[in-house]
Amino acid sequence: MNARFLRRIAPQIATLAAVVALIAFVFPGFFDISLANGRLYGSPIDILNRGAPVALLAIGMTLVIATGGIDLSVGAVMAICGAVAAWCVRQDYGLVSTLAVSLSAGLACGVWNGFLVAVLRIQPIVATLILMVAGRGIAQLITEGAILTFNHEGLIFMGSGAVFAIPTPVLLWLAMGALVTLIVRRSALGLLIEAIGVNQRASMLSGVNARVLIVAVYMTSGLCAALAGIIAAADIRGADANNAGLWLELDAILAVVIGGTSLLGGRFSIVASLIGAMIIQAVNTGILLSGFPPEFNLVIKAGIILVILVLQSPALRVATTFIKPARSLR
């Protein structure tokens, strides 16, 4: 089981190592880590910290994609939940009730998506597109068009605090990833989700309650997006309905794809998706560190990701299997 797990995530680990090695080559000070004000600083920590929102989104997205769906709304849900959290603290809610309301908002978004997909049977890409568009509008209604700033110690801690010198966002995504992985793999959820993703009709004919499970995965995705939204808002001490989580749904999908989960559904690995999210953030950070003019960022990022995906593509795998026996003949 363990050997199989390692074999599963080996390509992602190797890719991450290669990207990190490349950055370290261009920017020798990469591995310098220092401790200041009870918090670790340094580029690797920065990758883990900055990658938190995409990592969180990738957790929920992995499950959604495993059922054969997709959730385009997560970026907008981040904006909604960030706005809700900001609104709550400005109304003098306590931290616990603020978090509870904000996370509930994320769950409600998930219920909505799940309802459209599982009950009304709308194609996931269309169903979640509705909230992707409408969600920013809802967030703008909550913030009333302005950036809702706040100065609430507790909420700010979610974004820039540290526990045992480790930044809170890092702990949050690690904890969430571990929790969801445990629940999914220690219960039968993993098997049932994969079964639905491969063949929904056959699963239902075997008695699998596909409808409820599909709603549940979209709810998980909404919850993860809410947490990411809270972190994003806490990080800038304000809720920006227009820019919070903008385009992050695409990074999250990319993280899942780099993690090797098929967009057609079926077999999934949350750990691999999380490594995928870190690969994306490492590329982002690496480009900044290497001193390229910032206008090159997106193009270089696209180039690197293209290389990663080509290396993982089935066509290349077929090609290498043809090459290998030819070599061994010599």
Partner: protein, 517 residues
């Protein structure tokens, strides 16, 4: 309709064979289509009809044999190539583009050009002229899906004929048409026949086959049963050919005589039905009894099975188990009541192809236990190994994706999935279709074992001889109605064929065919 008997065949297939992993889909099949002929191709699912068609149209490459068109050997590489050679196909699901206009659909890929640009006016005029030949006066500039399926069907035919023009293959063209539309389509087919085309007509509506075809070829289990002029054949003989029973020959096995059951049935279904799918029926199944179900494709067999398993829901009626009512509104209800269902379409309704043999086996039990009560890995392994041994599932190990197994072994995995839930009532829809001979015999033996162990079974099969072997009773389905129940001495293939065939229906199509020709 007087064919010159020695007219040379337009299209001929000789010794055609095609194998897939685990099955021989076509085995040394010969087939000849004459010009000016409507040639019906019949057989149950899995008989090899579609494989034969796919070999003729280049969708599959044949393993062995020869295909001759106008006496010349051809080897169509793909459907496009076959089209250029002169073989056009129209499928049940119209393979056109519904969001383009009728004219665009007709001429897509070879639009009339003017100054290097498509000339819509000329295209529409050409389309109108072309469709007029088919008696269709519609506006070709309108979008295709604004017309009925029947009109779309004719447009598809017009396109196929204008592109190919020698052989036209119609695969279940009437499946979604009403009587009137079928008449119109038949008019078109007769017109094409008069123009000298050879037409292969595939349908499971026997009335229509008798009304339109000149000759009939029957396939069964990938082999040719025979080709006969339609005039020389009646319903009874045709059904015999399709379901594989030469009445003249050999011993007539009777079913194991059912013990005279006076006890109340374990499972009782009263007045269960669903509008448009299956007429209300009563069915009793005792413990330790196999009820067979016979009928042609589309007769309501699968509909009955799906109704009983809660797949389609039912309009009225009641299901009882041990005298107590049970809800059958969804497969989950049925599973909770101790039912299991092996669907006919193993690939898309049965196996979860990418998951392992182990995961496929535990799935139904796990779904029944709920997601919280995960079956431990150790127990999953033990269950999988146990079933692999007991049912002799040929796989390198339990972790192999089930999609990589042969058909027979996939079927055994499906059976294992249900046996793991310890069902009391197992519904098997065509459990022996498309699997190799060895697995076939093993599955029949398993059915007998399960029955001896006290399980109740409902088994649907096109193999009447097979039903005779294991059924205590046989229910015969025709036209979406349960029409007969054969018990004891009457459980013979002969009786089944009679019940399926009779009564000879006054054919609506035949009557009008006289007025046309």
């Amino acid at each position: 309709m007087n064919l010159v008997p020695e007219s040379p065949p337009l299209l001929r297939a000789e010794h055609l064979s095609k194998s897939f992993p685990g099955t021989k889909a076509l085995d040394d099949v010969g087939f000849a289509l004459r010009a000016s002929e409507v040639h019906a191709l019949l057989g149950e699912n899995g008989a090899g009809k579609s494989t034969l068609i796919k070999c003729l149209t280049g969708a599959y490459r044949r393993d062995a044999g020869d295909i001759l068109l106008d006496g010349r050997s051809i080897d169509p590489k793909d459907t496009l190539h076959a089209q250029r050679l002169g073989i056009g196909t129209v499928y049940q699901e119209v393979n056109l583009l519904p969001n383009l206009t009728v004219a665009e659909n007709l001429f897509l890929g070879h639009q009339p050009m003017r100054f290097g640009l498509i000339s819509p006016r000329r295209m529409n005029a050409d389309a109108e002229a072309l469709l007029a030949q088919y008696g269709l006066a519609i506006d070709p500039a309108r979008q295709l899906d604004s017309y009925s399926v029947a009109v779309q069907q004719v447009v598809a035919i017009a396109r196929a004929v204008s592109l190919s023009g020698k052989v036209l293959i119609l695969d279940e063209p009437t499946a979604s048409l009403d009587q009137h539309e079928v008449q119109m389509l038949f008019g078109v087919i007769r017109g094409l026949k008069a123009r000298g085309l050879g037409i292969i007509f595939i349908s499971h509506f026997l009335d229509q086959v008798f009304a339109i075809s000149d000759r009939i070829t029957v396939l069964r289990n990938g082999r040719l049963v025979g080709t006969e002029p339609t005039a020389n054949i009646d319903r009874l003989k045709l059904i015999n050919m399709m379901l594989g029973r030469e009445l003249a020959e050999e011993t007539r096995k009777t079913g194991r005589v059912a013990p005279a059951r006076t006890d109340t049935a374990k499972f009782r279904f009263e007045g269960m039905g669903k509008r448009g799918r299956i007429a209300p029926f009563d069915l009793d199944v005792h413990a330790g009894e196999v009820v067979g179900m016979a009928g042609l494709l589309g007769s309501g067999r699968t509909e009955t099975a799906e109704l009983l398993f809660g797949v389609s829901g039912h309009d009225g009626g009641e299901a009882r188990k041990d005298g107590r009512p049970v809800r059958l509104a969804s497969p989950r209800d049925a599973v909770a009541a101790g039912f299991g269902f092996l669907p006919e379409d193993r690939k898309s309704h049965g196996i979860i192809s990418e998951l392992s043999v182990r995961e496929n086996i535990v799935l139904a039990l796990q779904a029944r236990l709920g997601w919280m009560k995960r079956i431990s890995s150790r127990r999953q392994m033990a269950m999988a190994d146990d079933f692999i041994r007991r049912l002799d599932i040929r796989t390198s190990d339990a972790e192999k994706p089930v999609g990589q197994l042969s058909g027979g072994n996939q079927q055994k995995v499906m059976l294992a999935r249900w046996l793991a839930t310890n069902p009391e009532f197992l519904i098997l829809d065509e459990p022996t279709r498309g699997i190799d001979v060895g697995a076939h015999a093993e599955i029949i033996r398993l059915i007998e074992e399960l029955c001896a162990g006290g399980m109740s079974l409902l088994v649907i099969s096109s193999e009447l001889d097979e039903l005779v072997v294991y059924s205590n009773r046989v229910v015969v389905v025709r036209d979406r109605t349960h029409v007969a129940e054969l018990v004891g001495e009457n459980v013979t293939a002969e009786r089944m064929v009679q019940a399926i065939a009779a009564p000879e229906k006054a054919s609506a199509y035949a009557a009008s065919s006289e007025t046309v020709s």
